[in-house]
């Protein structure tokens, strides 16, 4: 031990000090220099009769222990005091014992009898005990068993006994634990639960007996015990998942009242449990995902077929109904997301991530983002988990993108994790904002972080093709950075990017070749050499020169650089042997005598391979193939990919390696195990107790309350769920409380109003509180009502019933649906019972959904309120129908058979500032729409009411022979930030008629599709509108000077230039302008020079400028330049315009 040399020193020092300081305060630091001599004093003090002296001695000893000094030689003297009557001395003795018993087994064994005696004192009643007289009769102690007055003492005795790691006392420990497990006091039982893993780690042979105790304690119904026993369960027998069945519902219901650390353990355990017992809630969705993917790639005809086939297969498949117990778990853990304890929040978050249906996982994002305000260690852990989650569920964190922006004061590891998250969240919509952030980061002083940022840019570039060129240009600019590390990192990333499309970038390769003179970082040099070697054909003049230079400096290079020099030489030899033959020979000769055997080997190997000799023969022929083979571009991906096979929030996940004792998270079962195992027989609480029921434990009171409650709820039961089968009633165990009841009688609870809910809540928090209290509560309520004369309270009360009604209605609707479904499936009566249970499942589900549904409207309302106040927005008036002139004739529409129609003559030219051809797109084909055909076009007018929306004109024609009623948009599911302003409902549409309406969509300057449902009175269709990039903007008029000024501001990364060849027919002013304005909604800017065309527009949502310049040079050559800070829009627009011009 490190402390031992210190002893010698202190010995010398202390002799000069002399006198021991009895009255000295233990804090004064003198205690930290105890030595052997003083140990004698300590012994003396311990032997005295005065408690104060003993206490003083013990304090010093504990202080020594705390400093990590050895105090083991005091063992006998200390142990004698275990029987001391002073509780504080005793406590300190316990501390000492726990520390040294294991180390000094022999001594401990000698003293064990003393110790046991001490234990007995605390176990049995001792009238002479000092502390007893001072103890006030508290509520807790009042119903105490006669065996001991103070449960605290019993508990601490057990704790110490179990903490002494001496194998020989195992039987005593076992006995003590068993006894304590049926103690009156929940606190002692809790301690017993804690003792279980201690005993198990000491002697694992006791497992079976311990499992019995655990089983018994699991049945315990106090919140105090629950956490500890689950902890013991996890330590001792995590594989015995069957022990949980009967307690599952109870644990779910108790959860909210368990102390925080207990919650963490229970939630983690229940996550595992749920994974083994329930079906995956996302199985249907994964099927759907497949569908969409197919739809994306497949041709349209195929789609129709596919859709039908899949619809059939979907129908065949039994619809997924969430097990009510699964729902129970999700519902009961959700409030804990608001816990103040980061560990609890994290536990719930991982539970939701692993167990909840995709649509519901989103709720955790908010809570996790909240944790980011916490200490940096918490941030570190949370960000790790967010990084993993954001790969799978990007949408979840997208709204919080900005919360991951990096501050210069963040620790480096936090910065890098945030960067990881930002990169994962990057998509076409937000990439420009993210890249702008990255630009700030690149200038950071923290070079590790800069390097990571460069990597991140590289990843964005590979993932989002549209910004690849922009990123590449940006990175190339970084090559002239002053900092070598930055340059080196850029080189490495550029190398990876170039591999994807080398042909277009010989300029960059040339530039990099020049860098070899300056860059010293080996990895970067090696990367450049590899690039030149690989693409030597693109830089035929430079490559040999680089090789010449490298040959010169070969001996001074690092090993990885040398290897790449050899590679370069070999490749050049094969492609350009005339110029590089001698150089290659020279390099290979140098390498032959290198110190590193890798390099020597490589040189020899390559010489054999490329230089034709008589012997080398066969391989030589293939040398070219070997060296100049097409190499697949590397994929830059997150290091957090696939980390989610570790349970999130676990240490293993954090380390990305399996830690000792990690419990694998099982995969969902294919078939749901029997849910009835969780049913608990209704009988008096299975509470069996050794110590005579003199007092009624608090939880048994609940049952009486429960009866009362049941009485109250009877009418609801009989009213709405008259047919509820016997399984139902068996399900609702009495102790599971109101939650269970409300779930099994959803309609009942929802119709009973807020009062009911309040009562529930009251009961939850005060489950054990006296009935009297509740009566009081009830008395108070009317009073409170009177008191709160403020209109707010009244409003609240008035408002809530209507909500309830809605909820009820929702429940009814869903019920109806279920009923319909049942009819449709035509189940036999024998299946009735199962369907019943499933209906109840969906009921409880729908209830929760209803709740959720209730929440969003409110938030929506609030946002509306806010916008009313702050943005002086007003709810847009119903958009006017487009004048009939713009309507494409009905007959024409009916003639359409899946063709997109371009009809210039019919579109009014006066509308859009640019004269243009309006393209029509199909929204719903006549066949798919069962006679209803819907088309849309972008009318290019400002949308009335909201200037940030793109106006979409929709043309609906009814080709059926019946009237279509109530045509409307339903449930728009816009992506984050997107907004949809629906068109007013069309009440009737006679057969053969066509109606035209306008709706507004705020696409957020992205080309992502807006999805919504189009409903008629009978059917609903899923449709989506995807805007061409040119429609996301509106023309701006500006002068030439203004244009130039603005253009000057948008250089660098915001500028995109492309060359093109104008075809014959497209070389007149008129056609060029027409083609450009047809491709994009832009306005022409006057221009002095001939052969130059300028256009300007602003994006609709953010109002960012988009400036287009087309320069027509001699002949057919032209150059197109687009300046916009929206880089994605810029790059896409370039493509669109070029396409329009060249076709």
């Amino acid at each position: 031990m490190a402390a031992s040399p210190a002893y010698g020193e202190e010995k010398g020092g202390s002799s000069s000090l002399g006198e021991p300081e009895y009255g000295h305060d233990p804090a004064s630091g003198g205690i930290f220099s105890s030595d052997y001599k003083r140990h004698d004093d300590l012994k003396e003090m311990l032997d005295s009769n005065k408690d104060s002296l003993k206490l003083e001695a013990m304090k010093r000893i504990v202080a020594m222990i705390a400093r990590g000094k050895n105090a083991s030689d005091l063992f006998p003297a200390v142990v004698k005091n275990v029987a001391c009557k002073n509780i504080e001395v005793k406590k300190l003795v316990y501390v000492y014992l726990v520390r040294y018993a294991e180390e000094q087994q022999d001594l401990a064994l000698l003293s064990i009898s003393t110790f046991q005696r001490g234990l007995k004192v605390s176990w049995s009643e001792d009238p002479g005990e000092v502390w007893r007289s001072t103890e006030p009769p508290t509520a807790a102690a009042s119903h105490m068993s006669p065996q001991d007055p103070n449960q605290l003492i019993r508990a601490s005795a057990l704790r110490v006994l179990s903490s002494i790691r001496v194998p020989i006392i195992v039987p005593i420990m076992m006995l003590a634990i068993k006894e304590a497990a049926s103690d009156m006091s929940p606190y002692v039982r809790k301690t017993a639960a804690h003792a279980i893993p201690k005993l198990y780690s000491l002697d694992s042979d006791q497992k079976d007996q311990l499992i019995e105790v655990i089983e018994k304690l699991l049945a315990d119904k106090t919140t105090l015990v629950a956490g500890s026993v689950v902890m013991a369960f996890e330590e001792v027998c995590p594989e015995r998942i069957d022990l949980i069945h009967k307690n599952y519902r109870k644990l779910c219901n108790l959860l909210i009242d368990v102390e925080e650390w207990g919650q963490v353990v229970i939630i983690n355990m229940l996550t595992r449990y749920a994974r083994t017992q329930f079906l995956s809630p996302n199985q249907n969705e994964s099927l759907l995902e497949e569908n969409t993917e197919k739809a994306f790639y497949g041709s349209e005809e195929e789609d129709a077929k596919d859709a039908k086939a899949e619809a059939a297969s979907l129908a065949k498949r039994k619809p997924y109904v969430m097990d009510p117990d699964h729902r129970l778990l999700l519902r009961n853990t959700k409030p804990l997301l608001q816990s103040r304890n980061a560990a609890v929040v994290m536990a719930v978050a991982q539970l939701y991530f692993h167990l909840a249906p995709k649509a519901e996982v989103g709720v955790i994002a908010k809570a996790l983002v909240r944790l980011l305000r916490s200490h940096s260690e918490v941030q570190y852990v949370v960000l790790q988990n967010v990084a993993t989650m954001s790969i799978k569920r990007r949408g979840m964190f997208e709204p919080y993108l900005k919360s991951f922006y990096i501050r210069s004061t963040d620790p480096t590891q936090i910065k890098i994790l945030k960067l990881e998250v930002l990169t994962n969240l990057a998509n076409e919509t937000n990439i420009s904002t993210i890249l702008r952030e990255f630009q700030t980061y690149i200038r950071s002083m923290d070079k590790d972080f800069v390097a990571a940022t460069i990597q991140a840019i590289g990843r964005c570039a590979t993932n989002i093709g549209k910004v690849r060129d922009t990123c590449l240009n940006g990175l190339v600019q970084l090559l002239s950075n002053r900092d070598e590390l930055v340059v080196a990192e850029s080189v490495v990333v550029i190398k990876k990017l170039l591999q994807m499309q080398p042909a277009q970038h010989s300029e960059i390769i040339k530039h990099m070749a020049k860098l070899t003179d300056n860059i010293q970082v080996p990895m970067a040099r090696a990367s450049i050499l590899w690039l030149i070697g690989e693409y030597c054909e693109h830089v035929p003049k430079i490559a040999p020169d680089v090789l010449r230079k490298m040959a010169k400096s070969f001996t001074n290079e690092e090993d990885i650089v040398k290897l790449q020099v050899i590679n370069l030489a070999a490749k050049l030899y094969l492609t350009n042997s005339k110029q590089s033959k001698l150089l290659t020979q020279y390099v290979l000769n140098l390498a032959k005598y290198d110190q590193n055997y890798d390099i020597r080997d490589r040189a020899r190997f390559i010489r054999q391979l490329i230089v034709p000799t008589e012997k080398s023969g066969a391989l030589n022929k293939y040398a070219k193939k070997l060296f100049l083979a097409q190499k697949p571009a590397p994929i830059l991906e997150s290091s957090f990919k696939d980390r989610d096979h570790f349970q999130l929030g676990s240490l293993s996940h954090l380390l990305n390696a399996k830690a000792v004792g990690y419990q694998e998270l099982p995969d969902w079962p294919d078939e749901a195990p029997d849910p009835s195992v969780r049913n608990v027989e209704v009988c008096g609480a299975p509470w069996v107790h050794g110590g005579g029921g003199a007092k009624v434990p608090e939880w048994t009171k609940c049952t009486s309350r429960e009866k009362r409650k049941e009485k109250v709820e009877k009418p609801f039961y009989s009213d709405s769920e008259g047919e509820s089968g016997p399984t139902e009633s068996a399900d609702s165990e009495p102790e599971s409380g109101s939650e269970e009841n409300s779930s099994s009688s959803s309609s009942g609870s929802s119709s009973s109003g807020t009062e009911e809910e309040e009562e529930e809540e009251e009961e939850d928090s005060g489950e054990q509180s006296e009935d009297k209290e509740e009566e009081e509560e009830e008395e108070k309520r009317p009073k409170r009502k009177d008191k709160e004369g403020s209109h707010k309270a009244v409003l609240g009360r008035v408002g809530s019933p209507s909500e309830e009604e809605e909820e009820e209605e929702g429940a009814k609707k869903s019920k109806k649906k279920v009923l319909q479904g049942r009819k449709g499936r035509a189940e036999t009566s024998s299946e009735a019972s199962t369907s019943e249970s499933s209906s109840s499942g969906s009921d409880s589900g729908s209830e929760a959904e209803a709740k959720q549904r209730k929440a969003p409207p409110s938030s929506k309302a609030s946002s509306k309120e806010i916008s009313l106040l702050d943005l002086d927005d007003f709810t847009p008036p119903p958009p006017q129908p487009i004048p009939s002139s713009s309507i494409i004739s009905t007959s024409l529409v009916t003639d359409l058979e899946g063709l997109t129609l371009t009809d210039t003559s019919l579109t009014p030219t006066l509308l859009s500032p640019a004269f243009s051809a309006v393209k029509t797109y199909e929204l719903l084909h006549r066949m798919a729409g069962e006679g209803l055909a819907v088309e849309y076009c972008f009318s290019r007018r400002p949308f009335p009411g909201d200037p940030h929306m793109v106006a979409v004109q929709i043309q609906i024609s009814n080709n059926t022979d019946t009237e279509v009623k109530n045509l409307r948009v339903n449930e728009p599911k816009p992506l984050s930030g997107m907004r949809i302003q629906e068109f007013p409902e069309i009440e009737h549409l006679a057969p053969g008629d066509t109606a035209s309406v306008v709706m507004g969509i705020d696409f957020c300057d992205s080309t992502q599709a807006a999805n919504f449902q189009l409903c008629t009175h009978t059917r609903q269709f899923y449709v989506s509108i995807q805007p061409p990039v040119g429609e996301l903007m509106a023309p701006v008029f500006m002068s030439e000077n203004e244009f130039k000024k603005e253009q000057g501001k948008l250089m660098g990364m915001s500028e995109i230039t492309e060359k093109l060849v104008l075809p014959e027919k497209c070389r007149s002013d008129h056609t060029i302008v027409q083609q450009v304005t047809s491709a994009a909604n832009v306005g022409r800017v006057p221009c002095g020079a001939s052969n130059e065309y300028r256009f300007a527009a602003k994006t609709v949502t953010s109002g960012s400028l988009v400036l287009i310049t087309l320069e027509w040079r001699e002949g057919s050559m032209a150059q197109l330049t687009i300046n916009s800070e929206k880089m994605v829009i810029g790059t896409m627009l370039v493509k669109d315009i070029i396409q329009a011009l060249t076709q």
Binding site: A63, R165, A367, V369, E698, E761, E865
Partner: protein, 406 residues
């Protein structure tokens, strides 16, 4: 789940307290920690989790103390419950801390971490008590089981009595913001807490309502708050713990525009060859709703190449630490008539390349009697007790992580 051992290490690398729950782990495991610590330039950069051949080390850094816990098996790695404490305070109270640790973690499993309970188990030392103790030799360990542990409201002890019954709420809001070079807001968000000091006798049942509860977007609660009541009525209903505690913390919904109460004009530039630079910063109030911005402090982490700074402040005082390169300017109150300005020359290391990036300015400020989000407490009602309590609400707005990029 299972913390094996805990070491407390101070800044100079001394292990001044150790506690083992299972068998003893030698101090030498900490060498791994020291190694990592050496590698990290900044104390903040020590990785929170280090894996060593046999153990995992989890470190938490608070108030210049590292809490290094040693674990062997799988744990949920969020362990964060040590309150504020300083090294000297721990040294002074070694025995008490030791006992506290003993209570908090049984076999390395968190047992009781509710501070009110711990206070009952082991009574905090007071001067009076220590005098009494030394005379009578009686203990300062609680004789009774904390009553709360068993009751249904574990956070409140029974039998609380006060002569003056008071309930105070401090609504404290912090603005987190990133302001970019040009002065536009990249990111801004309001985070708030309500800290309470409740000294009420008996078992009061309080309900606190807001004028505009919809402002609260994301809320985390003290366990005493009845969640369902909040869900249904947006009212905070609770039986409070005794004394000081944090009632809720919240985030204001991000759709709201955040009013930034100050603006910063800055001109920081480094010249290439003269090895000097200019520094000129002015802070002014903006949208402060008639309230004074006070307690303004600006801290800047200057680039490594900065040797010294020669500045003059029109108001307040500044310090520059040439070792850590941190410039601190304590401005104090901002009066709109005369805007505080800090201006002068930056001396750079000669020969060193000029810094690439201008440093970010971290601003702190305080505005009394204002909740920047506009949150207002409507009323506080008490049930369950007969007396009339004295109630008070205070609002403060502060800068949180408020950073200006330059």
């Amino acid at each position: 789940k299972m913390i094996h051992s805990l070491f407390l290490i101070n800044c100079s690398g001394d292990i001044f307290l150790e506690k083992h729950w299972k068998s003893v782990v030698s101090q030498s495991v900490c060498d791994y920690f020291f190694e990592a610590q050496e590698k990290a330039i900044d104390v903040e950069n020590v990785p929170p989790v280090i894996s060593t051949p046999h153990h995992y080390l989890i470190s938490i850094y608070r108030d210049k103390i590292f809490f290094v816990s040693v674990i062997q098996t799988e744990v949920p790695p969020l362990f964060d419950y040590f309150g504020e404490c300083s090294e000297t305070a721990i040294k002074d109270n070694v025995v008490i801390v030791y006992e506290l640790l003993e209570e908090m973690l049984d076999n390395g499993f968190p047992l009781a971490t509710e501070s009110n309970i711990l206070k009952e188990l082991i009574k905090p030392p007071t001067i009076l008590r220590s005098v009494v103790n030394s005379i009578t030799g009686s203990s300062n360990v609680g004789d009774t089981l904390p009553t709360g542990q068993l009751s249904n409201i574990p956070w409140r002890r029974a039998g609380v009595k006060y002569t003056n019954n008071e309930a105070y709420f401090d609504v404290i809001e912090e603005i987190d913001a990133i302001i970019d070079k040009s002065g536009s807001t990249v990111f801004a968000e309001i985070q708030g807490v309500i800290d309470s000091c409740i000294k009420l006798s008996g078992m009061p049942d309080l309900s606190l309502s807001f004028m505009n509860p919809r402002l609260l977007d994301d809320v985390s609660f003290h366990p005493c708050i009845r969640f369902k009541r909040w869900e249904s009525e947006r009212v905070l209903s609770f039986i409070p713990p005794d004394g000081n505690f944090r009632l809720i913390s919240y985030r204001v919904s991000s759709q709201n525009l955040v009013a930034i109460p100050v603006y910063v004009k800055h001109m920081i530039s480094f010249k290439e060859n003269t090895s000097s630079g200019r520094f000129d910063v002015t802070i002014g109030p903006k949208q402060n709703m008639g309230k004074t911005v006070e307690g303004v402090v600006m801290t800047v982490h200057m680039p490594k190449a900065v040797l010294n700074m020669n500045l003059t402040a029109t108001q307040g005082s500044y310090t520059f630490d040439p070792v850590t390169k941190v410039l601190t300017w304590d401005v104090g109150k901002i009066t709109p008539q005369k805007l505080p300005n800090l201006k002068g020359i930056v001396n750079l290391q000669s020969g060193a390349p000029k810094p690439e990036e201008n440093p970010s300015l971290n601003i702190q400020f305080k505005i009394q009697q204002l909740a920047i989000s506009g949150l207002k407490v409507n009323r506080l009602d008490m049930y369950g007790e007969k007396y009339k309590p004295f109630k008070g609400v205070k609002y403060i707005t502060k800068a949180g992580k408020f950073q200006v990029r330059t």
